[in-house]
Amino acid sequence: MSEIQSMLSGDVAEVDRESLALDDAGLARMYEAMSTTRAVDKRSARLHVEGEIGFYVASCGLEAVSVGAGFTLETPDWLFPSHRDLGMYLLRGGSMRAWFDQLFGNVADLTKGRQLPGHASLPAGRFVSVSGRVGAQISQAAGCAMAIKSRRDKACVLTSFGEAASSAADFHAAMNIAARFRVPAVFVCRSARRDIGAGIGGAAPVATRAKAYGVSAARVDGSDVLAVYRAVSEARSTATEGGGPTLIEAVLDEAALFGAGAPAAGDPPSADLDPLARLREYLEQCGIWDAAREDELGARLADRIDEAVAAARAEAKPPAHSLFDDVYGELPWMLQEQRERLVSGEGD
């Protein structure tokens, strides 16, 4: 199997800046996006643990994947995300306020409290509504990429998912379709670093299976944001230039990957596996970041998050009769009837 690509080795001289289209300000923005993602995620997980919101799947430790991949996208690109893509949501223009409104399922929530916390939806950012069905988005992404190709639009589709979804039928359908029609799609899979055959995925690494379908693939260090960014950037260029689909397998420490899913998560992985610590070390070595900026960012994020949470918490729940909206374009007779009986208190 191909090597696992990395860039952040701890030695500043080894980092090939030439291969990245990122200036100092861009790198600082990337770090800020990762820090924002972690701070919002930690607060979200805490809201669940403290019983204020429903079940929440945390993504602490996965920031290099969501931000590194999300950073490569251009405005017309489409995203078919999973429920651990908070970083992409924020990069595509999602606001903290809208995020916490969704977590509380309040009257301001644009998804009207219909889904579990973290299942966001952001049409303006071409960030498709997250499904509760693991893997369902992968074949949809392939179809969306077919549409982009048939319309000759200059865009690509990025979809992300965890290793478990690579066993689902949707993954195989998507690989088959993507290769068959050479669509402009980038598949990003978060996998655990382990011995072959030992895990919850298939016997072979996801990248190997993708290649067998005719989808280009590469493996990258999933806690190295620069490696993720470089690999996904190349895949995006290939896709938009007609070179077909690519799967990027972001390999993560098993504890970081599965620990992140625990609702009580919040403790970052150890420093050598922590995507934030690794980028910060590099930025400090380059003189792009320092302790003063770190403190200023931390304080600013805490204030903004406190404000967003307080505002979201203060909103009322959606009215009960909104239950019946958006099932169909128009309310059919049986829903009108059920709605009237609920509102009038008439009963069944």
Binding site: P123, C144, Y328, G329
Partner: protein
């Protein structure tokens, strides 16, 4: 006189609408070069090219999943499932995704796609080419489910589906694909590129004051035959062809039963928890004071479909007539 089959009506309507709206694409296994297993997409590849008439790998989950992604992007995909019996791998994307995208996003997304599903017996297909799975779809909030019984209705319902905003499951009675309707109005309707039938409106095929007979899809024809036979016995039957199963025409159903006080419901699918059970429940809730006899169902049996026993399984006019006479004489 022009003769138009149901398969031709589907094909002609697709072609007319694809000329009107370039966002419509047809996709499925063998819909292009082969023209579809029942020839309902014949010639479309030649006219519209492979960007819009797409031969997909044989995987219904992938076909519908890709169609959902296309619909989100702004296309209007028409996904053909070769046979209703093969739709189950696609149910996940239909039920969990297409039907729920508008709802779960709070109305921010919509998923206007049409899934065409040839269903039912009558072609010697055995257990895997004969099923009638409409109840899976009618039990799923967010889906419109239609089942035409004629070429003209297929054209009119398909056109409405292609101009609407909801995901639509079009149950096409495969036994009727090759049936040519000689009536001039059928050919006219199919030739009319603006002919559309609204969803939720049943057709009253025959007027009678004694018994209400409700059917849809392929079962409309044995129902009509049975109604004619009943008339010979002095029983006048009000025949409703539902056309739309969800949301169905509650007004027509209740109006008819208020007049007749007797109802027979016909479906080809297995009996228990089938679509007719919903109609019976609605009559029990809303028409109990009009009813003068038990509501009877004429249905397939609670068995898988059998190749050898096909004609025993599928309701025919004799079975429907038996039920009509039973409620009339109650």
């Amino acid at each position: 006189m022009a003769m138009t089959t149901l398969a031709e009506a589907v094909r002609d309507t697709l072609a007319q609408e694809m000329r009107r709206d370039e966002s419509i694409v047809v996709m499925g296994h063998a819909v292009g070069t082969m023209g579809g297993v029942f020839h309902a997409t014949e010639g479309l590849l030649q006219e519209f090219g492979e960007d819009r008439v797409i031969d997909m790998p044989l995987d219904e989950g992938g076909v519908v999943g890709a169609a959902v992604g296309m619909a989100l992007y702004g296309l209007r995909p028409v996904a053909e499932i070769q046979l209703a019996d093969f739709v189950y791998p696609g149910l996940d994307q239909i039920i969990s995704e297409a039907a729920k995208l508008r709802y779960r996003s709070g109305g921010q997304y919509r998923c206007p796609l049409v899934v065409r599903i040839p269903y039912g017996g009558g072609v010697g297909g055995g257990p895997y080419q004969s099923q009638s799975p409409e109840a899976f779809f009618t039990h799923t909030p967010g889906l419109v489910v239609v089942a035409p019984s004629t070429a003209a209705d297929a054209a009119g319902l398909l056109r409405t589906a292609l101009r609407g905003e909801d995901p639509v499951v079009l149950m096409e009675p495969k036994a009727l694909y090759g049936v040519a309707a000689a009536a001039a109005e059928t050919a006219d309707a199919v030739a009319d590129d603006q002919f559309a039938l609204p969803f939720g409106v049943a057709a009253r095929l025959r007027r009678g004051d004694d018994v209400t007979l409700v059917a849809y899809g392929a079962m409309v024809h044995p129902a009509q035959q049975a109604a004619e036979q009943a008339a010979a016995h002095g029983v006048e039957v009000d025949v409703l062809d539902l056309r739309t199963l969800m949301p169905f025409d509650i007004g027509a159903l209740l109006e008819s039963v208020a007049k007749t006080g007797r109802a027979v419901l016909v479906q080809e699918a297995p009996r228990s928890c089938g679509y007719a059970a919903e109609l019976a429940a609605v009559l029990a809730e809303k028409a109990i004071f009009h009813l003068q006899a038990p509501v009877l169902r004429v249905t397939g049996f609670d068995t898988p479909f059998s190749h050898a026993a096909e004609h025993t399984y599928v309701p025919d006019s004799d079975r429907v007539l038996g039920a009509i006479r039973a409620v009339a004489e109650f």
